[in-house]
């Protein structure tokens, strides 16, 4: 009796499928794990939970009309929890979602993937997960093959490990381990099915798992413990990115990993980061410019520190003697000054203010005191002796307009407090840095031209802008040395530090400034323009001291240009092109207009989302191809019926007939090329138990072999026969 029962119950035991689905889910999870590191996707747990839920529902093997709605609601819930703060059941979010989808359909059709809103992207991604879970179910329970997927997973992880900051050391072990178990179980199942002897017991041969687990455990342990050969090939990343960076303006444009905002600790610089587009503050100004926060004077070989020695000073808010007090931004008479006003609204609260340069007066809440550190130029805000954060403040300030002639004439006699602090270099600084600096500046006779030469050195030697494929210097490496000679690419910190260090090594005082670039244009109100400054605008740049002029900002970072104003000498051949007008800010010089008009949040997000969009698109395509191919039987049927209901005109009948031939063959009714249509029609009719194919075929014959006009063949009668045949195709 038991045997008979086992024969009847072909369904595998519940535990067996549970294990299968669980392992399958674990494998798919490996695809999701790196997402928050390699892209700007946050809340990856939503995707993971959603996937787990899909697997769970599939595990219960509910009927399609039950499971589909459940999964669909789960999808909506996941989407809701990602983007809409209101209650799920309030359904107020539904119109938003629909509107968003509608707005994005056009972009999908025009294939502007990067323009998609994040809601749509997430929706697509969720659908993709759904499809993949379906596919995995198919692999696990139907074909019982998972090796291809395992292979793809390993490939995916290794590629990520090589080209992104994602560290896949553990992931790869996990994947291989899970994958091997899964492959092993499926293999056993196949053997059992093929030989048919599980039917004798009616269950999975658990005993077989013992040797399998032993083998996997042994090989994994061995693999983990065995000594590993060092890489046989050089790291491909620098080579590949060097190839890529020949047109270096674009890289780094939003392609970023890790996170950065404005931080105070710069003692260890390096490594990749990811842009964060959270707003920091908005500024209303007449002319855009960089916003300084503080300067640092001591280069440690790893980063920057401040040798703060002076006491902070209280500022008189109505008359800030900002310039006089040690910061020495502009020496008296060093440059022409232009009076300006600015109004700042903070979104992020910081206990310091951002400053445009030479502040003359500050306006804020009455209870607030401003305390300035003369050396760093940082102005902290206090209220009742406690650090406080301002929501908004206004200031009057002066923007310097530097005279290049004056800069060139400025000699090498520096005040003591300048040369004492700002020529510092660590003793361990590799000699080749100095040698390089000497080589770059050697032939030039004045500090300004030397500074310009160093500033332009990076562009002339194709140093790339890159925030992604940059590794932090090793323990024994110097930050600047590594950038100058090994990586040859990086972001603002690399360029600015390198310039400062190089200048210092040839005896020109320089310092490292931190702050923000001018941000994204929002709107104009009278003559004041509003800019939005986000964490992504955090920036660093060098300032160089010129006797009689003061501290002059430079912009060595690739893709950025100096917003400070320079009055050019007429004969300035010695200074090769440095954009001197307050022109442009950031990275993408190619499309400054677009940037300026600030294509709003979506545009910027998509900027950052190029990655995930790319990944999603790629993943989608890769996953869609087999799915589409796999289910083509079903959707092709529907599609043809839909299509030919509408189609009219000559040739339609012949086309429809050929589509029918294709479908019948797809459904296993193969036509030998030596079959005549009648023979095939008879075969089809026999298989489908109809006579319709014969009728259609004789109509087609008179079209094909007789001299008939095809117009009246696609009539209702023939179309019904045709549809009937298609509907009869099964399995």
């Amino acid at each position: 009796m038991q045997i008979v029962q086992a024969f009847k119950e072909k369904r595998p035991s519940a535990l067996y499928s549970l294990v299968l689905y669980f392992l399958g889910f674990m494998l798919l999870w490996e695809w999701l794990r790196p997402l928050n590191q390699i892209s700007s996707t946050e809340d990856t747990h939503v995707f993971v939970v959603f996937t787990a839920f899909l697997f769970l529902i599939t595990y219960f093997q509910l009927r399609l009309w039950i499971s589909f709605p459940i999964k669909f609601v789960a999808l909506l819930y996941a989407l809701h929890s990602l983007y809409y703060p209101d209650l799920f059941l309030s359904f107020q979010w539904v119109p938003h979602l629909l509107g968003d989808i509608q707005a994005n359909m056009g972009m999908i059709w025009s294939r502007s993937w990067t323009e998609l809103s994040s809601v749509t992207r997430s929706l697509l991604f969720l659908i993709l997960l759904w499809l993949v879970s379906y596919l995995m179910n198919y692999w696990l329970t139907q074909t019982k093959r998972i090796f291809l997927f395992l292979f793809m997973t390993v490939l995916y992880i290794t590629v990520l490990d090589t080209f992104t900051p994602y560290d896949a050391k553990v992931a790869i072990v996990r994947t291989v381990f899970i994958g091997l178990i899964l492959v092993g179980i499926l293999r056993i199942t196949k053997i059992v099915e093929k030989e048919g002897f599980s039917l004798m017991k009616g269950r999975f041969p658990v005993m077989w798992m013992v040797p399998l687990s032993v083998v996997i455990a042994l090989s994994s342990t061995l693999g983990l413990l065995a000594p590993k050969a060092s890489p046989q090939w050089p790291d491909p990343v620098p080579f590949l990115s060097a190839l890529n960076n020949s047109d270096e303006e674009i890289p780094g444009d939003g392609n970023s990993f890790g996170r950065i905002g404005y931080g105070t600790n710069d003692s260890r610089l390096g490594g990749p980061f990811k842009f964060n587009y959270d707003e920091v503050f908005t500024a209303k100004v007449k002319e855009r410019h960089y916003w300084r926060v503080e300067t640092k004077d001591t280069y440690t070989g790893k980063g920057w520190e401040s040798s703060e020695r002076d006491e902070p000073l209280f500022l008189n808010r109505d008359h800030v003697e900002y310039n006089a007090l040690g910061s020495n931004l502009i020496e008296p008479g060093g440059a022409e000054m232009e009076k300006q006003k600015a109004s700042i609204k903070m979104t992020k609260r910081y206990p310091f203010i951002v400053s445009p340069g030479v502040i003359t007066s500050l306006r804020a809440r009455d209870d607030v005191n401003f305390l300035m550190h003369p050396q760093t130029g940082k102005i902290n805000t206090f209220s009742q002796n406690r650090s406080t954060e301002l929501k908004s403040y206004q200031m009057d300030y002066e923007l310097p307009q530097y005279d290049e002639k004056k800069l060139r004439e400025s000699g090498g006699d520096y005040p003591r407090y300048v040369s004492g602090l700002y020529l510092q270099l660590p003793a361990e600084l590799p000699k080749r840095v100095k040698q390089l600096a000497a080589k770059v500046t050697g032939k030039l006779d004045n500090p300004y031209d030397k500074a310009k030469a160093v500033e332009n050195y990076f562009a002339l030697n194709n140093y790339g802008y890159d925030t992604v494929n940059v590794r932090a210097p090793k323990r024994d490496e110097d930050y600047v040395d590594q950038f100058l000679f090994k990586a040859q690419k990086g972001y603002c910190d690399n360029f600015s530090s390198a310039m400062v260090v190089m200048l210092r090594s040839v005896g020109i005082p320089a310092r490292w400034v931190k702050g923000f670039t001018y941000g994204d244009y929002q709107e104009t109100n009278k003559e004041y323009k509003t800019y939005k400054i986000t964490n992504a605008n955090a920036h660093s740049w060098p300032e160089v001291y010129f006797s009689g002029v003061g501290w002059v900002p430079f912009e060595p970072t690739r893709g950025f240009s100096n917003p400070s104003s320079f009055e050019e000498e007429i004969q300035s051949a010695a200074a090769p092109a440095a954009p001197a007008v307050p022109k442009d800010k950031k990275k993408n010089e190619i499309k400054p207009k677009q940037k300026e008009q600030g294509l709003d949040k979506a545009a910027k997000k998509s900027d950052a989302g190029v990655n995930i969009a790319g990944f999603v698109a790629l993943f989608l395509v890769l996953a869609a191809v087999p799915i589409v191919a796999l289910f083509r039987k079903k959707w092709l049927r529907q599609y043809y019926i839909w299509k030919f209901r509408r189609q009219r005109g000559t040739g339609t009948f012949a086309e429809a007939y050929h589509r029918l031939l294709y479908l019948t063959q797809l459904y296993g009714l193969k036509r030998d090329p030596a079959f005549t249509l009648r023979e095939y029609a008879a075969y089809v009719d026999r298989s489908l138990d109809t006579k319709d194919m014969k009728v259609l075929t004789s109509a087609y014959e008179s079209l094909q072999y007789g001299r008939r006009d095809s117009t009246d063949y696609w009539n209702d009668t023939n179309r019904k026969l045709w549809e009937n045949l298609i509907k009869r195709l099964r399995g």
Partner: protein
């Protein structure tokens, strides 16, 4: 179109009547009667290869009678002379001139029984007249009656004292048919049918000679699409390159296949040929036109099996542009 259709229907009924007529005499050989009609309508001749006593003669007579045609029979023997079949000029002493006495060939439907028993000289006299539809005697050309339809039989069993027809001669028959034995049921019907008198005596013509001429004309008008022609050529061409075949079918073979297909399409009430016609007729049209290699014959292959193999291999054109290459 409806007028045309009606016209075709009437032919169909006439053809049905002929076949039914034949069936009165020959039990269970509808296929053979149909194929004989194909040959007749296509203006060709038939070679019947079978053992004696299966009704070859009766069938030919039935056809002739149904169509109201004159039936002649020639029993071929080794001593038969050409003049014995074509006719001879005899000096009429009363009139003092030579007078032509027509031989048995001068009929509409001629049964040439056991054609392989006579000498090649006489054989070729028959075959030439079949091709030319005329005989020349003493410098006078005598046109054979129209329609002229020869049904030759040969016995595949007894080869003693026979003169097998050479390939070039066989080529002149449009179709080669085998009657085959009737099934036991059919044989029972035959016995029942013949118990009192032979049904052939009661057969009445169902088609006039004029109608037959009209039908023959219509057959030539049956449309053959280029794709179907290509299929024919493809098929025939492959007999020339087949590994088991020593001599393939000639262009006359292609022509015969096409003409026969037209006639079959006509009988099937169609005004165009479909590949099925070609496929159906190919074994009857092609097997006597190809010569197998001795080694193939030793391996048990026959012309029949080779043609069937070709039919199972040559792709059938199902789309116009497929062959527009």
């Amino acid at each position: 179109m409806s007028v045309n259709k009606a016209r075709y229907d009437s032919y169909r009924s006439e053809l049905d009547a002929v076949i039914k007529n034949i069936e009165h005499v020959i039990v269970g050989k509808k296929q053979i009667s149909e194929l004989s009609l194909v040959a007749l309508l296509a203006g060709g001749h038939v070679l019947l290869e079978d053992v004696p006593g299966v009704g070859k003669t009766m069938m030919v007579r039935a056809i002739a009678k149904s169509l109201g045609l004159q039936f002649n029979r020639i029993q071929f023997t080794p001593d038969l002379l050409p003049s014995d079949i074509t006719g001879v000029s005899i000096f009429n002493q009363k009139e003092m001139n030579f007078e032509f006495r027509p031989g048995p060939l001068m009929g509409n439907v001629v049964l040439a029984d056991e054609i392989n028993r006579t000498s090649p000289k006489t054989q070729s006299a028959l075959l030439e007249s079949m091709e030319e539809k005329s005989v020349t005697i003493d410098g006078h050309t005598h046109i054979l009656p129209n329609p002229f339809f020869v049904m030759a039989t040969q016995n595949p069993i007894e080869y003693e004292g026979t003169y097998p027809l050479p390939e070039a001669q066989l080529d002149r028959f449009l179709l080669k048919l085998n009657m085959g034995y009737p099934t036991p049921d059919e044989e029972m019907s035959i016995l029942n049918l013949m118990i009192h008198h032979h049904p052939i005596d009661n057969l009445k013509p169902v088609v006039t000679s004029g109608q037959l001429q009209e039908m023959k004309q219509k057959v030539t008008e049956v449309y053959v699409d280029d794709t179907v022609k290509k299929y024919i050529i493809d098929l025939v061409n492959r007999t020339r390159n087949h590994r088991s075949i020593y001599l393939g079918a000639s262009p006359r073979g292609s022509l015969a296949l096409m003409k026969a297909s037209q006639a079959l399409a006509f009988i099937m009430d169609r005004d165009f040929v479909v590949p099925d016609d070609v496929k159906y007729l190919a074994p009857y049209v092609l097997t006597h036109r190809i010569l197998l290699k001795p080694e193939a014959r030793f391996e048990g292959e026959s012309a029949q099996s080779v043609v069937m193999e070709l039919l199972n291999r040559v792709p059938v054109p199902i789309q116009k542009d497929q062959h527009a290459r």
